[in-house]
Amino acid sequence: MDPARKRRIRLVVALSAALLLAAGLAYTSFNASSEAVTPTQLLASTATGRTFQLTGKVVDGSIVHRRDGISFKVRDRVGTTAVPVNYSGTIPDPFRDGREIIITVRKHGAGYTGERDTLITKCPSKFSDTPAPTPGTPA
């Protein structure tokens, strides 16, 4: 076999192996992924046992501290539909009422349970909408 032909064959074999692996990777990623949903979409979905990546805002005053974690409600970015979530694991520093969060959840009875350590709070780019003059400062 001449070397050029041999090289070509080697190249084709290597490329098809790479393609095969890439295809496998792509396939598993679709299986392992969790759908990104808003609270409204989450309520509409009936699939149980699957995980969802829930994005939304924390409902004001809904955060309750429990011994083994917290529970709170997540609402649509625009709208009032909200779902209750139980969660244990790290709570990011910026987490609080009204903040936008991402959390991986699974249906659990009537509510949803967040997977451990999946709660992410988006860094607010601004602390408040307008800088206001400060009142008196503590002496």
């Binding site: 070397p3 090289r7 692996l21 890439a22 990777l25 792509a26 598993t28 990623s29 679709f30 392992a32 992924s33 969790s34 759908e35 990104a36 990546q53 994005t55 501290h65 011994r67 083994d68 974690g69 244990s88 694991g89 790290t90 709570i91 990011p92 520093d93 910026p94 609080r96 936008e100 991402i102 991986t104 350590d117 999946t118 992410i120 709070t121 988006k122 860094c123 607010p124 780019s125 601004k126 602390f127 408040s128 307008t130 800088p131 206001a132 003059p133 400060t134 009142p135 008196g136 400062t137 503590p138 002496a139």
Partner: protein, 734 residues
């Protein structure tokens, strides 16, 4: 001042457009005057952009709240060194930083390259100026840093307290330096492809920038990881977050390029591959900037809520870059990129480099796919889905294992061809070391529970012992050759082959880091627990006792910066005292008096200051989430009192005195009542070695990248050239 800054940006845009045109014209016609003029345009861009940069920084230092960007990202209570860094926490400031670094680094590159590569330089200049035009246009049309308001706010919003950490001052600068430095080899690759001169010259000319970019990017990524570990109340260092991944992608392809470039230098092979890698790296740098700056993917680092204009601009730029790159590589594939040699044997250094490249690119592909999966799945299935860390780990762990093994084998195999017997002579020592480490790990620790970790330990032991053996044998050979002492031989060995031995040190660093990662993820003990003073929790054999609460009001420049509510934690192991940790939670006031005079001191941002006792064997790590919900009624009551007082027209000075008293009272009450707090406790074995490995990696990178020298010494060169000269005179002798 703002007008001058704005003018600087406009001048920069004009210069970029002119300079790119002049350079291309000069390159096509060969007219030196136009080429020099184009080069000067780049230097001038650097000049005016630096002026704009200084103007904006001085506004931050002066806390000039006429500038919107200063008012929204800094405050008088922000320490001066964080005011400097506050600039690049803003969209506008960080784009200006990009442009500044780009123009400065590319000017340095052009100055150093000087008269070499005169056919390629004009096109490279044009590409660099093209990037400059893009970023200055963004700064002029969308993210204007010099926007001013007529009436200045009396106080700014302040730098996000999470970013008030030393590593966060350097991290963005390092990442952006890495990104912008990578545009230099990118630009030269484009230039070389255009003029069809794709030999190893462009690689040699830009090698310093490639190494520098790699080093800067490494430091940036590692600082980000360190920040995450030491500042975020999470205790992890890597989360496969899109923005982290974005900075890792060019690092991976850049690392691959550093290795495969050597094959091209030595053998004239892999030209298509190298050109493609460097082009991909350049594009990935832009994609990295884009991901951070556009907020297109959900990430913790969502710096901007919406960036439609910016997103469109970046998408167009990326499409243009990819289109151009693909066109150039494909059209030059037949002639300029033709390989000068072919792979002689699968048992050769070049084959190992190729394998290492395949693994690195495979890792890059996995990371890329996982990062962009939300966009991919939306395009394919219509629903946006995401993959989590377990998915990444499943692929990255075996690939990383393979990579560590290759860093071991690569250095000891000779160029062109080797034999199994030869290779075994080199490998038998390290294989024995790896085997001993495996047996010891299985026998002495609980490592048997986690075979992945054991495999990584073995691979790391293998790789490290090979690097050590290389240094040992090299020193011995040098001693035999020059007759000098071992110390001197060791130093000259490294000094004469800086790239090689710097690289080995990087290999050791990577292996040590993997040991730290494997041990701390596989054998970490963690617990989230709620404690009251006097209660304790036992984690990983250590007992953490909540000894007493602490409170402090932190002031800066006469203003309240933050209120710290923390605790003193006494750690014991059995009956032995180990250490005392002092975690706390800092509450930063929010600038919104409407929500209540007292409430505003607790409803702003808050951050955890962790308590950490680092050690070679294990880190003890604790973060506190203070719970002040029981104080809410008192705070609200205080709000109402102060609202009444303000209505009643109490003088501002009295009000502020009372407010200070009220806050001190609240803090004292916290210490007295000490409501429970939520703690996250980690006992992480050997995580310390992650940082040791990181330091070694940076050190190795510095040795390899340090400019000047690296060539043959005068004596060695004379010897080789004499031998070759003999052949020239008598070509027939074998």
């Amino acid at each position: 001042m703002a007008t001058i800054g704005q003018a600087c940006l406009l001048i920069a845009l004009g210069l970029c457009v002119y300079g790119a045109g002049a350079s291309i014209h000069g390159g096509r016609t060969g007219q030196e005057a136009w080429i020099v003029s184009g080069r000067r345009a780049l230097f001038a861009v650097a000049g005016v952009v630096v002026v704009a940069f200084i103007l904006l920084e001085s506004a931050f230092l002066r806390s000039d709240f006429h500038y919107t960007v200063v008012a929204t990202h800094s405050s008088t209570t922000t320490p001066w060194y964080y005011r400097l860094a506050a600039m690049w926490s803003s969209q506008e400031g960080s784009l200006l930083l990009w442009l500044t670094l780009l123009s400065v680094w590319s000017s340095v590159a052009l100055l150093v390259i000087g008269r070499r590569m005169r056919d390629v330089v004009p096109y490279a200049t044009a590409v660099l100026l093209g990037f400059g035009a893009f970023f200055s246009a963004l700064l002029i049309f969308t993210a204007q840093p010099f926007t001013r308001v007529a009436v200045a706010a009396s106080e700014g919003i302040g730098l996000n307290p999470l970013l008030r950490h030393p590593s966060m001052m350097i991290h963005p600068v390092m990442l952006y330096s890495g990104y912008t430095l990578f545009t230099v080899p990118f630009a030269f690759a484009i230039g070389a492809l255009i003029v069809r001169r794709v030999d190893s010259e462009w690689i040699r000319a830009t090698r310093f920038y490639t190494l520098g970019a790699w080093l800067a990017l490494s430091i940036g990524v590692l600082l980000g990881a360190r920040w995450s570990y030491a500042e975020l109340g999470w205790g992890g260092y890597w989360a496969w977050d899109p923005v982290e991944n974005a900075s890792l992608l060019p690092w991976l392809t850049g690392t691959a390029f550093l290795h495969s470039a050597m094959v091209q230098e030595k053998r004239g092979m892999l030209k298509v591959w190298n050109a493609s890698l460097v082009l991909a790296t350049g594009v990935l740098c832009i994609i990295g900037t884009f991901l951070v700056r556009s907020g297109i993917l959900d990430s913790i680092h969502a710096f901007v809520q919406e960036g439609n204009t910016i997103a469109w601009a970046f998408t167009s730029l990326i499409c243009v870059l990819i289109g151009t790159s693909v066109y150039l590589v494909v059209s030059r594939r037949g002639d300029a990129l033709k390989s000068e040699a072919s792979l002689d044997s699968a048992l050769s250094r070049e084959a190992m480099f190729l394998a290492n490249n395949v693994v690195l690119v495979a890792i890059a592909f996995v990371v890329f796919w996982g990062t962009f999966f939300p966009l991919i799945s939306e395009a394919v299935t219509g629903t946006k889905s995401a993959v989590g860390p377990p998915w990444f780990d499943r692929y990255i762990v075996p690939l990383a294992l393979l990579l560590v093994l290759l860093t071991g084998i690569g250095p000891v195999i000779s160029w062109r061809r080797s034999t199994l017997a030869r290779l075994w002579l080199q490998l038998r020592g390290p294989v024995v070391v790896a085997a001993v480490v495996t047996v010891l790990a299985l026998a002495l620790t609980q490592a048997a529970d986690n075979l992945k970790a054991v495999a990584l330990f073995a691979a790391a032991a293998f790789s490290i012992s090979i690097a050590v053996q290389e240094l040992w044998r090299g020193t011995r050979a040098r001693q035999a050759m020059t007759g000098s002492g071992p110390g001197r031989a060791f130093v000259t060995l490294i000094a004469r082959n800086r790239r090689r031995y710097g690289g080995y040190l990087v290999h050791i660093g990577i292996a040590v880091m993997f040991v730290g990662v494997a041990a701390s993820t596989a054998f970490q003990h963690s617990q989230d627990v709620r404690l009251r003073p006097g209660q304790s929790a036992t984690v990983g054999g250590y007992t953490f006792l909540y000894a007493k609460p602490t409170a402090r009001i932190g002031q800066r420049a006469g203003e309240l910066e933050r209120i710290e509510l923390g605790s003193v934690i006494r750690v014991t192991r059995g009956r032995r005292y180990v250490t005392t940790l002092r975690p706390n939670r800092g509450y930063y006031p929010i600038n919104a008096p409407a929500i209540g005079a007292l409430t505003r001191y607790f409803e702003g941002e808050s951050t955890s200051e962790i308590g950490l006792k680092a050690g070679a064997a294990r880190d003890l790590w604790i973060a506190q989430r203070t719970d002040i919900t029981s104080f809410t009624p008192i705070i609200k009551k205080g709000d109402r009192l102060f609202a009444k007082a303000a209505q009643a027209g109490l003088p501002a000075r009295t009000q502020s005195l009372l407010l200070g008293q009220a806050l001190r009272g609240l803090v004292a009450r916290y210490v007295a009542e000490a409501p429970g707090a939520q703690f996250r406790i980690l006992v992480s074995p050997m995580v310390f070695w992650l940082w040791i490995g990181a330091v070694l990696l940076v050190l190795g990178g510095l040795i390899a990248a340090w400019p000047t020298g690296g060539g043959l010494s005068g004596r060695a060169r004379a010897r080789v050239s004499a031998r070759v000269a003999r052949d020239v005179r008598a070509p027939a002798t074998p």
